[in-house]
């Protein structure tokens, strides 16, 4: 069982590292020009019709008001319910919503299992015979677990079917995309079979999480060691899947934050002497090497040089 635990630890580390590396890489990219798209949800009093502070006379003299509640009003339904797909592509929503919501529930399942593992390790009884928090965790774990597995499995099968049988989707689907969906189907399918047949109350999984949170690599006497091999299969596949997701385009689960906050809603104006101006000053000094005749970047001329220079020659 030590191997299974190691797979999980390594997978978790890969997940965290992959997210971190990508997050840092994106964060370190230079400032870009403004490219916002309305409605911008934090525009207080204007977001509902898509207005901006640019509607205000001499806006640069006024205090800009931003609304966190406005952002949350858009973000929460967007994240939880995929409101954008629901609004703009209802048919696809029927396929993708179960998948995504199932995954959210499964993320919740991991939290419940971790909590159950910690409590069990601390001597609290997490079972149908327990009390209070232990009892609540016991019941909520399998309820959330079954709901998550069912929705995610159905959703991934539905998406796989859509990408296989709908020509519009098939033409844009690569072998890698099929692999991704198959990976979900297999991992979720194994998990489903395991819980239906061998671990109906998620007791085996929780036993594993006890070992996981106590860093107990030994198998002797551990409750998890008594569990059927399907539990191990479920854990290994799920661990690998968790490690795999941030290495693919599915990392949109967190990069979406940049796409919304930095780009779509990135309306922060450049104020003289401010932080943005400082950053712009830096990038204007980047060297340019574009070769077209009207630029003739030689790797030495900067953007500031180009912006203040005349066009030397017309293009052909």
């Amino acid at each position: 069982m030590g191997v299974v635990l190691i797979v999980t630890y390594v997978s978790a580390a890969v997940f965290v590292l992959a997210v971190l590396v990508r997050f840092v890489r994106i964060s370190r990219l230079p400032i870009h020009v403004r490219w916002e798209l309305y409605p911008v949800s934090h525009e207080k009093g204007r977001a509902h019709y898509g207005g901006s502070y640019l509607e205000v006379p001499e806006w640069w003299k006024k205090k800009r008001e931003s609304s966190l509640i406005g952002e949350l009003k858009v973000m929460i339904p967007e994240i939880l319910l995929l409101a954008g797909v629901h609004e703009h592509n209802r048919r696809h929503w029927a396929f993708t919503f179960p998948f995504h919501f199932g995954l959210y529930l499964l993320a919740g399942l991991i939290v419940l299992l971790l909590a159950g593992g910690i409590l069990s390790a601390a001597g609290v009884e997490v079972s149908g015979g327990g009390r209070g928090l232990g009892l609540a965790l016991y019941h909520s774990t399998y309820v959330v677990g079954y709901a998550g597995l069912a929705l995610a499995l159905l959703g991934s099968l539905a998406l796989l079917g859509r990408r296989t049988f709908n020509q519009d989707y098939r033409e844009y689907t690569t072998p890698g995309d099929y692999f991704n969906l198959m990976f979900f189907v297999v991992a979720l399918g194994v998990a489903w079979v395991n819980h239906i047949s061998a671990d109906p109350n998620f007791v085996g999984l929780r036993a594993y999480f006890v070992q996981l949170v106590t860093l107990d690599l030994s198998s002797k006497g551990a409750a998890f060691a008594q569990q059927p091999v399907l539990v191990s299969a479920e854990i290994i596949l799920a661990s690998l899947l968790v490690a795999y997701i941030p290495l693919t385009h599915m990392s949109h689960f967190f990069t979406k934050w940049f796409m919304y906050h930095d780009i779509r809603w990135g309306d922060e104006p450049n104020i003289r002497g401010g932080e943005i101006e400082k950053k712009v000053g830096e990038v204007l000094n980047y060297p340019v090497s574009w070769s077209a005749p009207h630029i003739r970047g030689d790797g030495k001329k900067t953007w500031a040089d180009i912006a203040t220079s005349a066009v030397e020659e017309k293009t052909k």
Binding site: I26, L29, P30, Y49, L54, K256, R264, V288
Partner: protein
């Protein structure tokens, strides 16, 4: 539905055309244009054009790329493209858009939500090559296989593959000019992928590395503007003469003395028009003069290079040209020590100078910019300009310029004005930030080479035509004069061509023009009848 399917990989397969345009496939228009015959025939490309230029995408040409004369020439072009693409993904050469571009490259879920939002895809009868994701997916595969990795089988397996040959590139650049860059697709993307941005970046690679761009926006556009001061070709002497004539005309028409101040140092406002207004719709700058003089504003125009022409075509295809023009605009304002720049009725100029240039102009070049919509609203509701709405007692609808509305969030000022001055104002559906592009966006309004004008009117402008007909559906009778208020010079150029193409003025008395004309038409200080209802 277009019968023939086109796969991503087909873009590399040489053929006479990747996709055929047939008007029976196009989305039907509302009555009375609902019959296929109501759409004029698509003028075929001449044999000479087909021999001379790359035309293997569809049935039209936007960029007029001369066909390479040899395989060697093709090889050089491909190498240059790859070199440009590599530069596009470096922070030094593309800090301007690197982060949005990379995120759009890496995260498309290929859910096709964007397709339904695109007026070009819809109007064409869902032609597969006009899906917003089609060109993006081609570009993404090129990036993944040739830039991000060295064409490993694993990359092809993960990301798909497209052969890189001259056919691919010739079609790709044309495809980048089958998008209005209106970003309606990006608005609906649940992840935030921006296919319009990708079209924009493809244009940049070709312009900034290969020197290939549509002639109308580069040679005759930004290059000419930087050389003589305006893409119209007007130098400072000519523009002053023209404005003088316009001042005389509007003074006579309204009874309000207008004498446009030029190069007035220390003025509160530097007003910059799209100079196309001065040439094609002179009553627009004239109306501004009437309003500003009536309100007693301390304003000026500038005769500096680009100081009297707010256009900045670089925003559609080239960061270097964009930056040069933005700096010229700011320098003109700096020289006159004005308190703010007010942009006239031009959507892309608004966005270029106010939003995009916000992270180009620093220090004393960062002079405040304000939309004329905001300025005008202040003048009307403060009572400085008095109006009698009954003079505008005819059906009016509003076209929302994408750059002004979806891309800047200036939505309500123009509406508040219209609700106040036009008693029969009605909205198009959808409107505001969810509007549809007129079909002239991203430079198309000034591009009519070969048969591109047909494409613009039949496909790019089709959705807008549908919206306009629907807005006036109960009043299409030609005895009722109707007004489409389009506060944007490029949009007006497109509407002029679109209306003319379908004879909307002759058949249904549907006219287009700006917002200031409507204001002056109902100003109590002005003589009535500023709007003359003559086709122009």
């Amino acid at each position: 539905m277009t019968k023939r399917r086109v796969s991503i990989e087909d873009i590399s397969r040489p053929s006479e055309r990747l996709s055929e345009l047939r008007k029976e496939d196009f989305k039907p228009l509302p009555e009375p244009f609902d019959k296929t015959e109501s759409t004029p025939d698509f003028k075929p490309l001449s044999d000479k054009a087909k021999d001379q230029y790359e035309s293997s995408l569809d049935d039209t040409i936007a960029v007029s790329i001369p066909k390479p004369k040899s395989k060697e020439e093709e090889r050089v072009l491909i190498e240059k493209f790859l070199s440009g693409m590599e530069k596009l993904f470096t922070k030094e050469n593309n800090w301007t858009f690197l982060q949005p571009l990379l995120l759009s490259m890496d995260h498309c879920a290929k859910c096709h939500t964007c397709s339904e939002a695109c007026h070009i895809y819809e109007a064409s009868g869902q032609n597969p090559i006009y899906r917003p994701a089609y060109r993006s997916e081609v570009f993404r595969r090129l990036y993944k296989n040739f830039i991000e990795s060295n064409g490993s089988p694993l990359t092809a397996w993960r990301s798909g593959k497209v052969d890189l040959n001259w056919t691919t590139l010739a079609r790709l650049i044309e495809l980048a000019y089958r998008c209005n860059l209106c970003r309606r697709c990006a608005q609906t993307c649940p992840i935030g992928v921006d296919n319009a941005l990708i079209a924009h970046e493809i244009r940049k690679v070709f312009s900034q590395e290969l020197g290939i761009a549509a002639k109308e926006i580069h040679d005759d556009g930004s290059v000419l503007q930087l050389k003589v001061g305006s893409s119209t070709g007007m130098n400072s002497v000519v523009v002053k003469d023209n404005i003088e004539f316009i001042d005389e005309d509007v003074s006579e028409m309204t009874g309000i003395k207008v004498e446009t101040p030029w190069d007035k140092e220390g003025a509160d406002i530097l007003l910059i028009h799209n100079a196309g207004e001065i040439m094609s719709w002179p009553m627009n700058p004239g109306a501004f003069g009437v309003i500003f003089e009536t309100a007693g504003l301390n304003w000026t125009m500038s005769s500096e290079i680009a100081g009297y022409d707010s256009i900045n075509y670089g925003v559609w295809y080239d960061d270097a040209q964009f930056a040069r023009v933005a700096v010229k605009h700011a320098q003109a304002a700096k020289k006159l020590k004005v308190k703010k720049i007010v942009l006239g009725e031009c959507g892309h100029a608004h966005k270029a100078l106010t939003v995009i240039a916000d992270r180009v102009l620093t220090g004393d070049l960062n002079i405040p910019r304000e939309s004329c919509m905001v300025t005008l609203e202040g003048l009307i509701f403060s009572g400085k300009v008095k109006v009698d709405p009954s003079r505008n007692d005819f059906p009016v609808t509003l076209h929302d310029p994408c750059n002004l509305v979806r891309l800047m969030g200036i939505v309500e000022p123009q509406r508040r004005i219209l609700r106040h001055i036009a008693p029969r104002f009605r909205e198009m559906e959808p409107h505001g930030v969810y509007n549809y592009c007129c079909g002239g966006g991203s430079g198309f309004a000034i591009m009519s080479g070969h048969n591109f004008g047909d494409w613009r009117a039949q496909i790019a402008g089709r959705k807008k035509l549908e919206q306009i007909l629907n807005a006036f559906k109960d009043e299409l009778d030609p005895s009722i004069k109707k007004y489409v208020c389009a506060p944007c010079s490029n949009c007006k150029g497109q509407l002029r061509d679109l209306f003319s193409y379908y004879d909307l003025w002759e058949k249904h008395s549907i006219m287009y023009d700006g917002l200031v004309e409507l204001i002056v038409n109902c100003m109590t200080d002005a003589k009535p009848g500023f709007i003359e209802w003559e086709w122009h």
